[in-house]
């Protein structure tokens, strides 16, 4: 087990390093110059040169990369080029926001998705199954910007126009807001993210249940004379939900950073939006930091998924 974790951590480090290198190279090709962007189109060439000097952009690329990497690894995430502020607190703040959104999305979607998936799986080809299947297939295909717009129209302006209590259309939560303060503003973006997740997880759960129902051990359990409920809960679900757990853990990675569109539609200050900001501003150290956090989060979520899977699934443990 420890070997497994070590090995995975090794790969994880490798992946993260590769990603940082990749991003570094790609950003070198990005047109637009960070100093020009910082100083505006009216600034003179001299100011631009000063700025480049100050940011260390005059050094050779490998030096720039290694300097950054060295600093990053020693915990010095540096100063954001475009804002001149220390990167670490900015990124951590956004990470916190992203995690809050993730949490809400998961809390709403996972139980519901699992319940729907199980219900559909246990009633294969019955109306409830078809409804869940078609419903989830339809939702999974809807771009977030469409669902987001619809949800805003319905739950924000729709309810408001009816004179009912309504949800905020906008989710720009103040910095350092506590979870409870942020909660009302988290609901709509979480709901948008959730729809996709819901569909995905419920389909997976359904497939898992169907797959396990076919397994001979279910027959063994049935023929022991166990009550049907026991068979389902203790035997079928235990195994059927294993892949679901993995997917949930992985989707945490996705939720943390993949919500660019949702964050834009709702103006939610998450990591995804920060990353776009950094790309737009050619703010390399900020971009790198955000990407490192994202990739690490993603990789750790994956690792956690695997560990959880291994923990819940005794068959894995031997390896």
């Amino acid at each position: 087990m420890s070997r497994f974790i070590l090995r995975r951590l090794g790969f994880l480090t490798l992946t993260v390093l590769l990603t940082s290198l990749l991003v570094f190279i790609v950003t070198q090709w990005l047109p637009g110059d960070v100093c020009r962007i910082i100083l505006g189109r009216e600034a003179g060439q001299g100011a631009i040169e000063n700025c480049r000097l100050e940011l260390g952009l005059d050094q050779s690329l490998p030096v720039q990369y290694l300097t950054w990497l060295g600093n990053f690894l020693t915990g010095d995430w540096g100063i954001s080029f475009s804002t001149g502020l220390p990167i670490y607190p900015i990124v951590m703040d956004r990470l916190r926001n992203s995690l809050m959104l993730t949490l809400v999305a998961l809390i709403i979607s996972v139980p519901l998705a699992v319940a729907l998936g199980v219900a559909a799986g246990l009633n294969e080809n019955k109306p409830i199954d078809s409804t869940v299947s078609v419903g989830s297939l339809s939702v999974v295909g809807l771009p977030e910007f469409v669902t987001g717009l619809v949800l805003i129209q319905v739950f924000s302006f729709g309810l408001r126009d009816l004179g009912l209590p309504y949800l905020p259309a906008n989710s720009s939560i103040p910095p350092q807001s506590t979870f409870l303060e942020a909660l009302p503003m988290l609901i709509l973006p979480a709901l948008t993210a959730m729809l996709v997740l819901l569909a995905y997880i419920s389909r997976l759960t359904r497939a898992g249940v169907l797959e396990e129902l076919k397994q001979p051990y279910v027959r063994t359990a049935d023929l022991k004379g166990l009550p049907r409920r026991n068979v389902i809960v203790k035997h079928v679900l235990r195994n059927a939900l294993l892949p679901t757990i993995t997917v949930i853990a992985i989707s945490i990675g996705w939720l943390i950073s993949g919500l660019v569109v949702i964050e834009n539609v709702f103006n939610y200050p998450g990591l995804g939006r920060l990353m776009i900001f950094a790309i737009d501003r050619r703010d390399l150290p900020l971009l790198q930091a955000v990407i490192m956090v994202t990739v690490l989060g993603f990789a750790l979520a994956n690792l956690a998924a695997d560990l959880l899977y291994g923990w819940l699934n005794p068959r894995i443990r031997l390896e």
Binding site: V146, I276, V295
Partner: protein, 297 residues
């Protein structure tokens, strides 16, 4: 010799012809209403993509200055937008771009992913390790962000979107293919081919590839629907497409601004995106079922 037991086969006759197989697939697609609906939607959109210019009453950027912001009517089925362009025509004409971009992108990504997957899965070793780690790092970035980053670097054009789709989806396809290859590689027929002195390319493309195809076709259908999604999302974020392109995502982005007054300009392109993605999804699901049942049979 004659006394040797004669064998009679389970089924007689040669393998069914391509056309019969195709018609069989079509029939199976239409055997379940949901899949039938999905397939129909997809086919309709493909037809629209092909014959769009014949269907659309106006040009994609034909501005009728005096008829801006009109609600749906006989003349303008989906109304007109803020610049006086016929929304119906734009939606119809937009089908081609989005389907071609997503389709060609998917095909190219599937091809390159397949080649990578076959090679890494079959050869293993360092080549596999390095390629897969690189792909891992690509996959660790959310697809949309990767797309944005790449679009920034390769420039904002349709062709960049193709490149982005290829780069974003190649690792995913490669992984899927690789896992199938890994499962097939130890099977007797692959080893028999090796023992038969077959060349590597023949083993990869003639022996292994066919077994990958079913999984690949499901994956391709799925990728296609995600590619549509991606192209639309990029359009919505306003990257990779240039106005006045009737990219549905771009139309949604533009119409969102004045949706309060001209909701139809937002509604119809959004509906088109949703419909085509749902259609392709439902069909992909059907393809998966058909191939799944063949696998068992």
């Amino acid at each position: 010799m004659t006394s040797f037991p004669e064998t009679n086969s389970i089924e007689t006759g040669a393998a069914p012809s391509r056309w019969r197989r195709l018609s069989l697939v079509v029939r199976k697609l239409y055997s379940k209403p949901v899949t039938a609906i999905g397939t129909t939607i997809t086919v309709i959109f493909i037809l629209i993509a092909i014959f769009g210019p014949l269907i659309a009453p106006y040009g994609e950027n034909e501005i009728l200055a005096s008829e801006a912001r009109q609600p749906p009517s006989i003349d303008h089925w989906f109304g007109t937008d803020n610049l006086g362009r016929d929304v119906f025509s734009r939606v119809v004409l937009g089908a081609r771009e989005i389907l071609v971009l997503a389709g060609v992108g998917t095909i190219l990504a599937v091809i390159s992913g397949t080649i990578f997957g076959l090679l890494t899965g079959y050869r293993g070793g360092w080549f596999d390790e390095i390629t897969m780690r690189t792909f891992d790092s690509l996959l660790a970035l959310p697809a949309l962000l990767l797309a944005l980053l790449l679009l920034g670097t390769v420039g904002q054009s349709k062709y960049s979107i193709l490149i982005v789709i290829i780069i974003v989806y190649t690792p995913i396809v490669a992984r899927v293919v690789r896992s199938v290859v890994l499962a097939i590689k130890p099977q007797g027929f692959v080893e028999a081919a090796r023992l038969g002195g077959e060349s590597q390319s023949r083993i990869l493309f003639r022996e292994i590839l066919p077994s990958v195809l079913p999984t690949l076709s499901v994956e391709s259908a799925l990728r296609f629907s995600y590619a549509i999604f991606l192209v639309a999302s990029l359009g919505f974020l306003g990257v990779g497409v240039q106005p006045p392109s009737p990219n549905w995502g771009l139309m949604v982005k533009e119409a969102r601004v004045y949706a309060g007054l001209v909701p139809w300009a937002l509604f119809f392109p959004a509906l088109a995106i949703s419909l085509v993605v749902i259609g392709v999804n439902l069909m992909a699901d059907g393809v998966k079922r058909i191939i799944g049942s063949q696998g068992q049979g």
